[in-house]
Amino acid sequence: MKAIPAKFKVNGGIHPAYHKELARDKAIENMPIPALLSVSMSQHLGAPANPIVKKGDSVLRGQLIGETAGFISAAVHAPSSGTVKAVSEAPTAMGTTAAIVVIEPDGEDTWIEGLEGIADWQSTAPKTLVEKIAAAGIAGMGGAGFPTHVKLSPPPDKPIDTLILNGAECEPYLTADHRLMIERADTIWVGCQIIRKILGATTVRIAIEDNKPEAIAAMEQAMANAEGDVGITVLKTEYPQGAEKQQIFATTGREVPSGKLPMDVGCVVENVGTTLAVWDAIVNGKPLTERVTTVTGHPVAEPRNVLNRIGTPYSDLLAFCGGLKGDVAKIISGGPMMGLAQPGLDATTTKTTSGLLFLAPQETQTFNSMPCIACGRCIEACPMYLVPAELSQMLEAEDYEAAEELNVLDCIECGCCAFACPAHRPLVQHMKQGKSKVMLKRRQAQKK
C-alpha cells in the first residue's frame, strides 16, 4: 500500500521558514513529574468541566477530577497521584479565567484501580466504545480541543464514509506528531482502526506533508497489511494544509459548506495524537493524562519533544530542555502561525499544548501598521478565498454589517494574510474582533 500524492490543492497558503530541524530527530522523551501540577478545567471547546475534588483530597492518576458539564464538554482526570493543594481560578492561555485544580504529586504515580481496556473492540458496539472515549476525557489534541466523543457521534442522518487522520503538522517548528508517527506508527494504526469501526467509514486516509518522509515510511510499514480502501495521502508542504477544511479538500476534493461541519460532507478528521489517546483508552482503559509537547526555538538550549503530564508548568518544561541559551523576546504556546503569545512562563500545559516556542529578539519584530496598499498578497494567501484587505478596512471603520456580508465569519484565523502583508496590518486581530462583534449582534438579534 503506497503513499499517493494529493490530487487537489487549496489555493492560497504560505511557505514560512520551518525550522523543524531543531527537534525533528529528537526522540520523544519522558520528563520527570513536576513539583506541582495545575490542571485547568477548561482544556477543550465547550463548557468547562466541573471540579469534583476539594482541597486536601487524595487523588490517584487517572482519577476523575472534573465532570463534563453539558453535551459539548470533556472530563478531566488527575495526571498523577498526590494531594489536591487548591481548587482555585487562574487565567487561561486565552486570557479568560477558569477553575483550576492544583495537585502536589506524591512521586508514586499510582494509577487508579479498575482501569480496563476492551480487548475485543472489533466486536463491540460503537456506542460502548464512544462512552469509553468520553470517560477518558479525550479532546482534539491537534490544538482545537473539540471533545472527541462528540465528534465520533455524528447524527444518523450524516453518515461518515471517509476518516482522515491529520498527520500534516503544518505549523513551523512543531515536530510532536512527526515523532509520534515515526515511533508509534503501529499503535496509531490500531487507534485508526478503532475509530474506523466506530464511524463505519469505508475510506481511510492518513494525510501527511511531504516534508516528513520518515513518518510516511513508518506509517506505510504499519499499514502494510491493511484491508479495504486505506491509503496515505502525501500533501504538498504548505501552511495551512493541516487546517480541517483545507485538508478535507486536498484529500478528497470535497468542500465543507460555509457554516457546516466535516460530517456534512461525510468526513471526520482526527489528529494522530488524539488517535493514540483513543487507542490507550480503548485497549488499556487509560484516560488522557499526558501528551507530547515540542519545546523548541533557537534560544532553547536543548529543543526536545517532551512527553509531559497535563498541568506541567511551562517553566518546568523549559528546565527539562536545558533552559535558555540566548535572549527571548516572545514565548508562544503552540506554533508561530496560530499559537498564543504568553506574557510569561506561568501557565501550564493542557491537552492541546502541542508546542512551546521561544523566539529570539532578532526573530521577532514589533510592527507599526500602515494603511492598506491594495497589493493583493493577502488575497493570494487566504485559504478561504476571502479578501482580507477589504475586510480589515471595514473592520477598522467598525462597519460590521459590511464585514458580515463579506463573509468575515468564514475566516479560520490561520494568519496567512498577516504573514504576507507588506503594510504589517494586524489583520487577524481585526478578524477576531469582527467575528466576535458579528456573532454578538446575531445573538442579540435572535433574543429579540
Binding site: P16, L318, L324, V328, K330, I331, A374, C416, P422, H424
Partner: protein, 339 residues
C-alpha cells in the same frame, strides 16, 4: 532564568511570523526596476534629464514631508513611495520642461492627488499621472515640446533644447491624419530597433521600450507586479491595432509601432500596475488591463490627443472600486455570489 526576572515579553495576536515583506522593500524594487530606463534617459537627453529627475524626486519628497507635518501626522517619507512618484512623474515629462513647472506637477501629484485623500493607500488615482495630466492641461505648449535624443551638446550645454524641437512619432501620425494624409512615419527595421532602444523623441522615461521591459521582468521576478495587467493591456492594444491596420492600412500604423511608441510600455508596466489604484484580484486586473488598452487605442486613433495612455489609466483607476466589487472571489465553501 527568563521567567524569574522582570523581562517583558512581546504579546500580540497570531501570527508571530512574517514574510519579511514591507512597503519600503516593494518601493525599492520599483526604483531598481526603473534604473535601466533612468540611465538611458540620461544617455539620450543629458543634463536636462538629470535636472528633471532630481527636481521631481526632491520636490515630491519635500512636498510629502511638508504636507504630513502640516496635517499633524508622522513624516511618512521613509516608505519611499514619494521617491517612486517623483521618478515616474519625471519619466512622463519632456526634457525641456522648466523646473518650476515640474515642481508644480510634484505638488499636484503629492499634495492634491495623494495627501489630501489621506496619504498612501487612500488615493483613488495614480499620483504621478495626475501630476502629468495637470501639467499637460495647464501648460500645453511646454508639455508638448519634443526633442530628438542624442543631441551632440546634451552633456555640455543646457541650451541645446532651444529651437531643436521635433514631433513624437505619435504626434506626427495625428497631424497627418488630421490633414488626410497617409501615415508619414517611415517604418522599417531600423525604426523598430530605434524605438526598442529608445532613440526616438518623447518623454524622458518612455522612450526605451527595452529598458522598461527589463525593469518589468525584474518586478515580475520580485513578485511586485503580476503579469495580468501588462499582458492584458499590451495584448489589447496589439489586437486592436491589428484590427485597425487590417481594416484601414492607410490610416493606421503597424502593430509594433503602437506597442513601441509613446508611453505604452511605461504605462502598462509601471503606471497601470500601481497597487493602490489597480484592482485587487487577478480577474479584476485582466479587466482593468483590457479597459486601459481599449481606451488608449480609442484616444490614439480618434481622440484629440496623440497619446492616450495617461488618460486611459486615470479613467480606469476611477472604476477600480467597481471592478473590485464585481470580481470578489468565490469564498471556500460557498456558492458564487452568496453571503
Amino acid at each position: 532564568m527568563a521567567d524569574q526576572d522582570t523581562t517583558q515579553y512581546i504579546v500580540s495576536t497570531n501570527p508571530h511570523a512574517h514574510s519579511g515583506a514591507s512597503v519600503q522593500r516593494i518601493m525599492l524594487d520599483v526604483i531598481i526596476a526603473l534604473v535601466p530606463a533612468l540611465l538611458l534617459s540620461f544617455h539620450y537627453f543629458g543634463w536636462h534629464a538629470v535636472r528633471l529627475v532630481t527636481v521631481c524626486v526632491v520636490g515630491c519628497v519635500v512636498t510629502e514631508a511638508l504636507c504630513r507635518k502640516l496635517m499633524g501626522r508622522d513624516l511618512g517619507i521613509f516608505d519611499l513611495s514619494a521617491v517612486v512618484t517623483g521618478l515616474l512623474l519625471a519619466f512622463n515629462l519632456p526634457p525641456s520642461l522648466p523646473s518650476g513647472m515640474a515642481l508644480v506637477g510634484c505638488i499636484f501629484a503629492i499634495a492634491i492627488a495623494k495627501q489630501l485623500f489621506g496619504g498612501i493607500g487612500y488615493n483613488p488615482f495614480n499620483p504621478a499621472l495626475i501630476g502629468r495630466v495637470a501639467l499637460l492641461v495647464s501648460f500645453p505648449v511646454a508639455m508638448t515640446k519634443w526633442h530628438a535624443p542624442l543631441n551632440a551638446a546634451r552633456w555640455t550645454a543646457l541650451s541645446w533644447i532651444d529651437g531643436t524641437t521635433t514631433a513624437t512619432p505619435l504626434g506626427a501620425v495625428k497631424t497627418a491624419l488630421a490633414t488626410n494624409q497617409t501615415c508619414p512615419v517611415t517604418w522599417g527595421n531600423t525604426s523598430m530597433l530605434n524605438y526598442l532602444l529608445g532613440n526616438m523623441s518623447g518623454c524622458i522615461g518612455e522612450v526605451s521600450a527595452l529598458a522598461l521591459i527589463l525593469g518589468g521582468l525584474y518586478l515580475l521576478y520580485r513578485r511586485c507586479i503580476s503579469w495580468h495587467i501588462p499582458v492584458a493591456y499590451i495584448g489589447t492594444v496589439a489586437i486592436f491595432a491589428a484590427i485597425l491596420r487590417i481594416a484601414q492600412p492607410d490610416a493606421n500604423m503597424p502593430v509594433l509601432f503602437h506597442l513601441l511608441s509613446g508611453g505604452l510600455m511605461l504605462g502598462a508596466i509601471f503606471m497601470a500596475t500601481d497597487m493602490v489604484t489597480s484592482p485587487l484580484t487577478k480577474q479584476g486586473m485582466l479587466i482593468f488591463g483590457v479597459g486601459c488598452g481599449l481606451l488608449t487605442m480609442i484616444i490614439r486613433r480618434w481622440g484629440g490627443y496623440p497619446e492616450g495612455v495617461s488618460f486611459a489609466i486615470i479613467l480606469m483607476n476611477s472604476i477600480t472600486p467597481l471592478i473590485n466589487r464585481a470580481t470578489r472571489p468565490r469564498v471556500f465553501g460557498r456558492k458564487r455570489g452568496t453571503s
